[in-house]
Symmetry: C2
Subunit: 147 residues, 2 copies
Amino acid sequence: MSPASAPQFVTALTLGVRDVQASLAFYTRALGLPLVHHMPGEIAFVQSAPGQLLALWNIASMPGEYGEVGFSPDSAPPVSLGRNVASAGEVAPLIERALAAGATLVGPVTTREWGGTSGCVADPDGYRVDVVHNPAFSIGEYGSVTV
Amino acid sequence: MSPASAPQFVTALTLGVRDVQASLAFYTRALGLPLVHHMPGEIAFVQSAPGQLLALWNIASMPGEYGEVGFSPDSAPPVSLGRNVASAGEVAPLIERALAAGATLVGPVTTREWGGTSGCVADPDGYRVDVVHNPAFSIGEYGSVTV
């Protein structure tokens, strides 16, 4: 889509990370996100959705643009990057793939009270990555979701 | 796209929020993201990209699936949701729109040393929202980015 006709979406998602190389390796291996650009030690971009980049930015560089941001010693950032899958059976293999890429297990694959199946891991900085089958979600043309 | 042919993208982004209604109002007004589903007090979904939902989830409900996540008293979460625009002149109006929707100014619109123009605000929970013109980014078919 051309910039002029771009709809009103989030076109970049930026996470502060402690080690750009480690985070890049994680997201390309754990979720298979395609690499777009890498400036070693500073920032890496992967494609996170059609029309959206995930930027993995050295957190030391963030305050100049983003002000006082940081990690808490007591808890992980309350953020999760999710992969929705089409069947409950697809959840466990993706969790295994993330663990093989260096993730830490947060919650094993579980049937949830809301009717879905999910599992959750942590990336190298503690950001959550969840794999979810939600039987209530339908994905239509251009990836729009109806519930 | 059908789930079977879905590429390997991030299909959901979940932020822990203190007030679901306030966050929903912010993201629909500040960024114009379309509402998909709202369960008052618990969670709201807006469409954040083709094939991706942004979930605004009551942080009190998160630990059951995501473990120990939380806000730091000293700093905001190191996360920003970005809107890339096609020209430097489009940055300021979007920052103004976000401020009118209740954002807090973090960094005024500035020409950056890396050649772009950006401004940054904070959402009701402190998550950063940045508006960026990056002259090095080209957006191709299906929203894939080349640098």
